[in-house]
Amino acid sequence: MKIDPATKKQKTRNIALSLFIYVLPIALMFITFSINGQRPWIKKPIKKENIKLITNKSNFTNGSND
């Protein structure tokens, strides 16, 4: 099937423009990340909670070694 040059040009333009629009929000997102220095894909290490262990006699020895 022969496609006339004008239709072929139109199809190429439409495909290129569509691909550009698909990529646009993703590209803008990464540009914003680079400007703001954000790296949301890097998993943050879970912070150790500041829990104070209570180590009185009863915790370990049930208070029987005294």
Partner: protein, 301 residues
């Protein structure tokens, strides 16, 4: 603040679930009470609309569910939630473009490629606009709704919340664009609202531009079934040169040569064929019926 966010989240979740059928029924009741279907909803068309409203979700939703919950995890188990880190607003932008631009092309191709037209014909055979015909589609057309598979894949990759937000916004816009209640009319009537109208009609589907797409003729300069393919965003029509912006509504809708094909043929063509002689859905029917005055199908370009 936390309570407000939770409240909004619950509204969105509910709208995404059973909210839309309720919205359809609510607007449908309004349309009936305004007498907008008076004399325009023959028995045959009632059967087509009701069959599509009931059967399509019953079959299609489980198929989509199967794809998201079984097929994707089996094929790509390591990719689940891979992009869960994408911020919600960026996710919304990505899904809105991916979903709606894909639907624009899916829709446009069904108008421009002759052998695809008959899968989309059911949606255009209604001679009225409104909630009754908003979900009127051939089952095969709906099952192959390409943008749904793309969106489900993005949900699988971690964009679930953005997909829900886009789904709610898109559902509201497309439902209201099909409604026979012309909510956009005040924007054209009052001069103070004209700047808003200018922006609205170029960005989203309005009743005026989408009704033009469903017109039975292009002769009046209002109807334009050769374009206005956008679903949520009308912007695609502007960008790709298929837009006709109108602030009037067509006098007649549907397909000029339509003679009431049976509900089962409209719902399940090519499995079931129409008994209407010369119909595009009949066993020996033409792929595209050519009218004497103009080539009516495919309905675009």
């Amino acid at each position: 603040m936390g309570a407000t966010i939770e409240f909004i989240r619950k509204i969105i979740e509910n709208l995404n679930g059973y909210g839309f059928p309720v919205l359809l029924l609510f607007i449908g009741v309004l349309e009936f009470s305004f007498g907008l279907y008076k004399g325009k909803w023959p028995k045959n068309e009632r059967w087509v609309d009701i069959a599509c409203f009931i059967v399509v979700p019953l079959i299609v939703r489980p198929a989509f569910g199967l794809f998201g919950l079984k097929v994707l995890p089996a094929l790509f188990p390591a990719y689940k939630n891979l992009f869960g880190w994408v911020p919600v607003l960026w996710g919304v932008a990505i899904i809105a473009v991916a979903d709606d631009l894909t639907q624009y092309w899916y829709h446009r191709l069904h108008h421009q490629i002759p052998w695809l037209w008959r899968f989309h014909r059911t949606h255009h055979s209604a001679s009225y606009m409104g909630m009754a015909m908003a979900n009127r589609q051939n089952l095969i057309y709906t099952i192959f709704f390409s943008q749904v598979y793309l969106t489900i894949a993005l949900v699988y990759l971690g964009l679930g919340v953005p997909a829900i937000i886009v789904g709610v916004i898109k559902g509201a816009i497309t439902t209201l664009a099909h409604s026979s209640i012309p909510w956009d009319k005040p924007f054209y009537k009052y001069k103070v609202l004209h700047p808003i109208a200018w922006v609205l009609e170029r960005t989203i589907s309005t009743p005026a531009t989408h009704h033009a797409h469903h017109a039975s003729s292009t002769d009046d300069g209002i109807g334009y079934y050769k374009g206005n393919f956008g679903n949520m965003f009308f912007l695609w029509d502007i960008i790709f040169g298929t837009a006709l912006i109108t602030r009037q509504y067509p006098k007649a809708y549907g397909i000029s040569h339509y003679r009431g094909d049976q509900w089962y043929a409209q719902l399940l063509w090519p499995i079931f064929k129409s008994k209407v002689e010369g119909s595009e859905l009949a066993a020996a029917g033409p792929m595209v019926r050519i009218e004497r005055r103009q080539r009516t199908k495919p309905r675009a370009g």
